[in-house]
């Protein structure tokens, strides 16, 4: 091996550096980096920040962005609570069919979004199995309203919190809970003050993953949403509409706005996570 004047890596006898790093960097560049750079270049250099702002700063676009982030937040919040509960039930309790349920939790990862979309619409439509019951008892329509979008996004984001929290619950030392009980804490107090703080960082990771996934979700939502402009039109759909009108600048501007908001949110969640880890005294 020739001596490198610029040493990116520390020396090692391990073979395959050039090949593996080369394949990795080439594919990363071709599939991810160059396309992303083209998007940003088209937006900031080609179209310009003022042009992009004019596109985004219209009621229809704002409504779509607001709807996408609000629905994703509501759905992820539901999944945060339900995911911790489900993970707890799956780790701590024994009941018939537990393994099957455990495996079924990953269904939203494996089931194509279009399939989920038409299936959810079929049962939550006003004439569907569940949709008709909900309409009769609560007088609320699910499909073709924002509620339908929530349902679709809850479906899509369901596994994330469960799968991040489950291993943490498995590793909890029962002695910690016993100590809490011997010191006189009720079971509820032990759960809220001892167990829950231990799960917080992992639960937040799952929440962030679910949020990132559901903000951009398209396939499962468009069938159930009704897609009424300003009411049930999500931001990704608006990008598709702009593209169908050959309004590339409009599509780029909305895409960059979505990316900017998502990354700000993910950064904020990361900071909360670091804070909650510090508070726990863990790494």
């Amino acid at each position: 091996m020739t001596a490198r004047s610029f040493s990116l890596k520390s020396p090692t006898p391990m073979p395959g550096w050039g090949l593996s790093f080369g394949i990795m960097l080439t594919m990363l560049s071709v599939v991810v980096l160059i396309p992303m750079a083209v998007l940003l270049w088209r937006g900031f250099v080609g179209f310009g920040p003022t042009g992009m702002w004019e596109v985004v700063n219209r009621p229809r676009v704002w409504n779509a962005l607001e709807l996408s982030f609000r629905a994703a937040f509501v759905a992820s919040l539901f999944n945060l609570v339900f995911g911790v509960l489900l993970a707890w039930v799956l780790v701590r309790y024994r009941f018939p069919g537990k393994r099957l349920i455990d495996a079924a939790v990953d269904l939203p990862f494996a089931l194509p979004t279009a399939v989920a979309g038409i299936a959810l619409t079929a049962i939550y439509a006003p004439n569907g199995v569940l949709g008709s019951v909900i309409l009769e008892t609560f007088g609320a329509r699910v499909a073709y309203t924002e509620l339908g979008i929530w349902i679709a996004l809850i479906f899509v984001g369901l596994p994330f919190v469960v799968r991040t929290v489950q291993p943490v619950i498995e590793e909890i030392d029962r002695e910690t809970e016993e100590a809490s009980a011997t010191l006189g804490a009720t079971r509820l107090r032990t759960l809220t003050h001892v167990v829950l703080p231990m799960l917080t960082p992992a639960a937040l990771t799952g929440f962030a993953l679910a949020l990132a996934r559901s903000v951009g979700e398209y396939g499962s939502v468009i069938f159930i949403a009704g897609n009424l402009p300003n009411v049930t039109e999500i931001a990704p759909l608006l990008i598709v509409i702009r593209l169908e009108e050959f309004d590339y600048n409009g599509a780029v501007a909305i895409a960059i706005a979505m990316l900017a908001i998502s990354f700000t949110l993910l950064l904020a969640i990361n900071l909360i996570q670091i804070w909650s880890r510090r508070r726990m005294g863990a790494v």
């Binding site: 593996s20 394949i23 396309p35 489900l86 309790y93 269904l107 291993p167 996934r213 050959f246 990316l259």
Partner: protein, 291 residues
């Protein structure tokens, strides 16, 4: 709690680290009820709607020409993207775990980037690069190599969407296994490729299969990104998920749900294999001890 002290009835005794039985069964029931409404009901609906007019009708809808070509295209796209992703995943995991270099954390973050980008934006990226509005796209079309509204675009978009799957699975596993075994093989005189095929690959094969399974499920089921780049030309650039949308919008409900049922069966197979791997080879997978 006074009643737990009466040990005459040992069943009334509850360890301090469990919840009361009533609470436990309420939680189990609640969780199962929510899963039934959210997960199982839609799944049943797919098969019910597909078989609404009988088996013969459902199977006939699949043997239609457009449906057949959609199935072929989906298989083709998966056959191209999954091996490419596996090669990328192995190369990335090797570079990341076998060497120490600057900027490693950044590269890992970049590999994960497609997970936090909307599929629609992913499709948009390739339309911008190779579409009719870019010089490169115009030149490619003029020379007879259309990317967007053609199979290469669908492959690229699917590659982007599934990009992190294999690498993400392999990196934690290979990190944990360390470099000692490979180093031992090298000192014994094995060549680089021999080390990889006889030492590394047997160690990571189940993790690799796990990543490939998830990658394949996503590749065959991707909708948003493919919808943007495909142009939805019937019989040419329509994958199975896109065909579902077309049938559905044309009120061909049985055809749409039959196609959906085929993909749902694929999801079952994926889940079954995935669970089998998790139960059998839990110690060799990243998923089972991920944080």
């Amino acid at each position: 709690m006074t009643e737990t002290l009466t040990l005459s009835n040992p069943r009334a005794f509850r360890p301090a680290t469990t919840e009361p039985v009533l609470v436990k069964w309420t939680l189990i029931t609640l969780v199962l009820a929510i899963l039934a409404v959210l997960l199982f009901a839609p799944l049943i609906a797919v098969f019910e709607e597909a078989l609404r007019r009988g088996w013969a009708f459902a199977i006939a809808s699949l043997s239609e020409r457009d449906a057949q070509s959609a199935i072929r295209l989906t298989l083709l796209v998966a056959a191209i993207t999954v091996p490419l992703n596996a090669v990328f995943g192995i190369a990335a995991a090797w570079a990341v775990t076998k060497f120490d270099w600057r900027g490693k954390a950044w590269v890992i973050t970049l590999i994960d980037l497609p997970f936090s980008i909307s599929p629609v934006v992913a499709g948009l990226l390739f339309v911008l690069m190779f579409g009719s509005n870019s010089a490169l796209g115009v030149w490619l079309v003029a020379n007879g190599y259309p990317i967007v509204f053609a199979v290469p675009g669908i492959v690229l978009a699917t590659l982007f969407i599934t990009f992190p799957f294999v690498a993400r699975e392999l990196i934690p596993v290979m990190l944990e296994q360390g470099r000692a075994e490979e180093e031992a093989a090298l000192t014994l005189g094995a060549s680089g490729w021999r080390v990889f095929f006889t030492v590394t690959l047997p160690n990571i094969r189940w993790a690799l299969l796990y990543g490939v399974l998830l990658c394949n499920a996503r590749a065959m089921g991707e909708f948003g990104a493919v919808a943007v780049v495909s142009g939805k030309i019937r019989g040419q650039t329509t994958t199975m998920p896109l065909m579902i949308e077309m049938f559905y919008n044309e009120y061909l409900s049985v055809a749409a749900f039959t196609m959906a049922a085929v993909l749902a069966l694929l999801a079952f197979v994926t889940l079954a294999l995935k669970s089998a791997l998790e139960w059998r080879y839990a110690d060799q997978l990243a998923a089972t001890h991920r944080h």
